[in-house]
């Protein structure tokens, strides 16, 4: 997952690398995702998460395309 300063920079990068566009999130969206994904990572009680929970996190953030299908 890489940072880009702008959409134009991303387009140039995709062309130069000859790779297909994946999913693009704003900084606010990634911060929301980070908090849901990592908030309990330091805990002794963290045991990973189920596929269902992962899908729930994505859906809560409106990430419902095929790209974000957990299973």
């Amino acid at each position: 997952m890489l940072f880009f300063r702008s959409e134009e920079d991303l387009i140039q990068w995709l062309e130069s690398k000859k790779v297909k566009r994946g999913a693009v999130l704003s900084i606010d969206q990634v911060w929301e995702l980070s908090q849901r994904w990592y908030h309990n990572r330091m805990s002794l009680d963290y045991h990973g998460r189920t596929t269902e929970h992962i899908q729930e996190i994505f859906e809560e953030l409106g990430l419902t395309s095929e790209f974000w299908k957990a299973a």
């Binding site: 997952m1 920079d9 994946g22 911060w31 990572r41 957990a70």
Partner: protein
């Protein structure tokens, strides 16, 4: 996971938090009164469970997401320390995991322009920057470095 696996996973994360680096297998063996071979086996099991990821063919921790065991261009300054994150997402993941204010310094992958973000009291500073996820979720763990 067994209690021992959970304790060792948590130890690895605490070690990252305190030192910004992963513990060696010898560090972990000493902490839990294990032989190096026993600790290596635990590392292999935690790697297999995706609790963290070893550099292939070694017992060196490459990633315990969001922390990176090697230097990267994704720098996170938090709690008086400087951490390396594995990627753009994980650079925001470190303050989320630590529940800490942070300053993130990275670069635009196309232009090389500086990207700086600040986390303060759980809020992130405004930015027009974007994060591109190249690989669909189902393929993330096929090749983590590429992902």
């Amino acid at each position: 996971m067994t209690n021992k696996l959970c304790e060792i996973r948590a130890f690895v994360y605490d070690y990252f938090k305190e030192t910004t680096q992963p513990p060696s297998v010898e560090d972990t063996a000493a902490r839990f009164n294990l032989t190096t071979d026993e600790a290596a086996l635990v590392y292999e099991e935690l790697n297999q469970r995706h609790a963290f990821f070893l550099n292939p063919g070694t017992h060196n921790i490459l990633m315990a997401n969001p922390f990176s065991g090697v230097e990267t261009p994704f720098k996170v300054h938090a709690s008086g320390k400087t951490y390396s994150a594995n990627c753009a997402w994980d650079s925001l993941g470190i303050p989320a995991a630590l529940h800490a204010d942070a300053e993130i310094k990275a670069i635009c992958s196309q232009s090389g322009a500086s990207i700086q973000l600040n986390i303060k009291d759980g809020k992130i500073s405004s930015s027009d920057a974007l994060v591109h996820f190249l690989v669909p979720f189902q393929d993330w763990y096929n090749d983590l470095v590429y992902t």
